[in-house]
Amino acid sequence: MNPLLERTWRDTGFFSAINHKTIALRYIVTSFAFFVAAGILAALMRLQLAVPENDFIGPDLYNQLFTVHGTAMMFLFAVPVMEAMGVYLVPLMVGARSIAFPRMNAFSYWVFLFGGVMLFGVLALNIGPDTGWFSYPPLAGPEHSPGKRVDFYAQLITFTELAALLVAIEIIATAFKMRAPGMTLARMPLFVWAMVVTSFMILFAMPAVMFASTALIADRLVGTHFYNPAEGGDAVLWQHLFWFFGHPEVYLIFIPALGFMSSIIPTFARRPIFGYPAMVLALIATAFLGFGLWVHHMFAAHLPELGKSFFTAASMLIAIPTAIQIFCWIATLWTGRIVFRTPLLFVLAFFFILVAGGLTGIMVASVPLDLQLHDTYFVVAHLHYVLIGGAVFPLFGAWYYWFPKFTGRMMSERLGQWQFWIAFIGFEVAFFPMHTLGMDGMTRRIHTYPEAMGWGAANFISTVGALMIAASGVLFIVNVVRSYRRGAPAGDNPWGADTLEWATSSPPPSYNFDRIPVLGSEGVVVTGLAEKSREVLITTVVDAMPDHRLAFPNPTIWPFLSAVAVTVMFIGSIFTPWAVVWGSIPIVVGVTLWFWPRKDETREHLALEKRP
C-alpha cells in the first residue's frame, strides 16, 4: 500500500466516482441484477407454457415479457457485463493505473443504468414494449403499435448503445496506448485481444441499430416513411439494418467469453496457451466474418438466390475460427497438468453446450433447413445453447475465477460445484427438448398452444429445467454473499496465474500498481511518474515503448449530471420531438462544465509539464 498514491487516486463521493474498478463493479452488479430480472421473466414465460391452453399469463403481458426478456438479456446484460469485465480487467492486465477516459466511463455507466431502469419501470407499469427484441416494422411501426410502448424500446437502444460505444472506445485506447512498457502486441493477454476485437466490432455494428431505431422512432413520432412501403419505404430495410448489427452482436457477446476461456484454461492446465498466434488470428477472423452473415436471419424473406448461397457459406465458415480455438484449448488441456476447480468446470461446459449450439447453428445456416427451422423453438434452443453455453457458462467461470481479485476472498468450492451441476443439468433439461419442439412445429413467440399439438410433455420438462436454472442462480447469489462476508482470504494470486492482474493485491488498490513492471526485463519497474497527481504512462501501440506521461482527470460529478440530462432528453423525446431541442441545453451545459479545466488542476499539470 502506497498512501500517497492512494490519496491521489481514490474516489471522492458516490456520484463522482470514476475509478474503473468501482465503475466496473457497479456495471457488473447492475447488469447481473438485470440478468436476474430478465431471468424471472423467462421463468414466468416457462410457467405459462408448461401446459397447453394455459391462461396464467395473457397474450398482451406475455408479449411484453418475451420482448423485455430478450431486450434486457441482450442490451442490459450480455453486452454490458462483458464490457464491464473488460473495464475492470483490461487496465489491470496491461499494467495501467486507470482506464482511458475514466469520466466517460462513469458517464457510460449512468446512462446504461437509467436506460435499464426505464425499461423495467415501464414493464412494471404494464406498458412495456411488446414487439420482440427485434421489433420488426410494420408491427413495431406507428399504425400497429399505438402508444409509447415501442418508443421506450427504441430509446432503450439509444441508451445502451451510447453506453456500449463509449466503453468500446475506452477499451481500445487503453489496450493500445496504456500497456506497461515491453508488453508488445504479441505479448498482450488473449482476454485483452478479445476485448479489443469486441470493441472494434461494437464501433462498426452498433451504429446500425442506432440508425434503425432512430428511424423507427422518427416513423412513429414525426411521420417519416422509412418503413412505409406505400411511400417508398421498406419494412425489410429494418431487417437489414437490425441484423447487420444483430449478428455481430452475438459475436461481441461470444468473443469476450472466448477471452475468459483463454485466461482460465491455461491457468488450470498449468501451461501457457497452445497456439497463441492462431488464437489471435482466429479472433480477428471471427470479427470480420461476423459482419458477413446477417442475411441468414432473413432467409424466409424474399431474397435473390445467389445472395443466399453466399450468406450460407459465410455462416458456415465462421465455424472454422471457433474450431481453431476449441482445438487449441483441447491441446492446451491435453499437454497440461490439470487442476479441477469450479472456474474450470464452468469453462468445460462450453465444450458440451457451445459445440452443440454451434452445430445447430450450421444447420440453421443452410437455407433449406432454415426454411423449416426458422422462427421455431429449434432456433430458441440453438440461440440459448450458443449464448448460455458460449457466454454465460464461461462468464460464471470468470466470476469464480476473478472473484478473489475483485473482493480479496475465495468463493466456496462446494457451493460452486453444486451450482455448476444444477445449472448444467437444468440447462440441458430446459433447452434440449426445445430442439424437438421446433422440429415438431412449435413456433416462437406464442403465448399458448392447443393440446392437440402434442407439445405439452416437452414443454413441461423444459419448464422444470428452467426452474432448476433459477435454483442454480439462487445458489450463486448465496455463494457470492457468503463468500463476500466470510470467504477464505485469497492472497494476491490464488490460482497461480501469470497475467498482470494477479501481480497486485486483492482487491487491487485504487491505483492498481504501486510499481508498474517492465515486461521482458525481469525485475525492472517504472519510476518517474508523479505520485501526487494522476499521472499515467502512455506507450506506443505496437512495441509498448514509453512515449509520454499524461495527467488524468480527477473525480467529478459532471458525468453523472450529464447522464441525468441525457436521460431527460431521451425520455422527453418520446413524448414530444421538441425535447430534442430543449433537452440539449442542459446536456451542453453539463458537458461543457465537465470538460472545463479547473484552475488547481491546471496548476498541478503545469508543474509537471514538459513540452514535446
Partner: protein, 196 residues
Amino acid sequence: MKTLDVSWLPSYKYGHHSLMWWGLMGLIAIEGTALALAAAAYLYVWSQANVWPPNAPPELFWGTVNVALLLVSIVPNHLAKRAAEDGDDARLRLWLVVCLLMGLAMLAVRALEFTALNARWDTNAYGSALWFLLGLHTVHLATDVYDTAVLTVLMFTGPLEGRRHVDAAENAIFWYFVVYAWIPVYAITYWMPRLG
C-alpha cells in the same frame, strides 16, 4: 531494484501518439459508420423506387455554397492545427475565431439548405432519408462548432496548459472529418438524382 525512469518524457504529444487521438478515431469510426449506413439507407430506398427522386432534387444553390464554405474552412482549420502544434497561442486564437465564424456561417447556410430540399421528412421515404442524412451531418457540424466555440473561449480565458494545444489540434482533425464526410453525402443527395 533496476528501474526505468520516465520522468524525462514529455507530458503530452500530438497526433496518433496521444490518447485523445485514439478516442477521436473511435468517434470518427462510429460516426463515419453511421453516416455510411444513412447513405446506404438512402441508396436502398432509391433501389426500391420506380422514379427517383420522387420530388425535384434539392436546389443546388445553398448546398453548393455550403460545400464551398466547408472546403474553404479547411484552410483556417489547417492553420489553427499548425498553430496548435507549434504552441503559438496568438495564432491559434486568431484561426480558431476564423474557424468558429465560418462554422456559424455554415450552420446558417445549412438552415437555408433545409428549406431548399424540395421534400419534407414526412413527404415520402426519399424525403425521410434525405433529411436523415442532412440531419446527421448537421449534428456533427453543430457539435464541431460547439467544440470550437468552447476551445476558443478557453484559449482567451484560460486556465491554459500545453496539452490544450493537443485538444485544438484534434478539434481540427474532427473538422476535417466533418468536411470530408460531407463530400460524398453532397454528391449522392445533390448530384446523383440529377445525373442518375
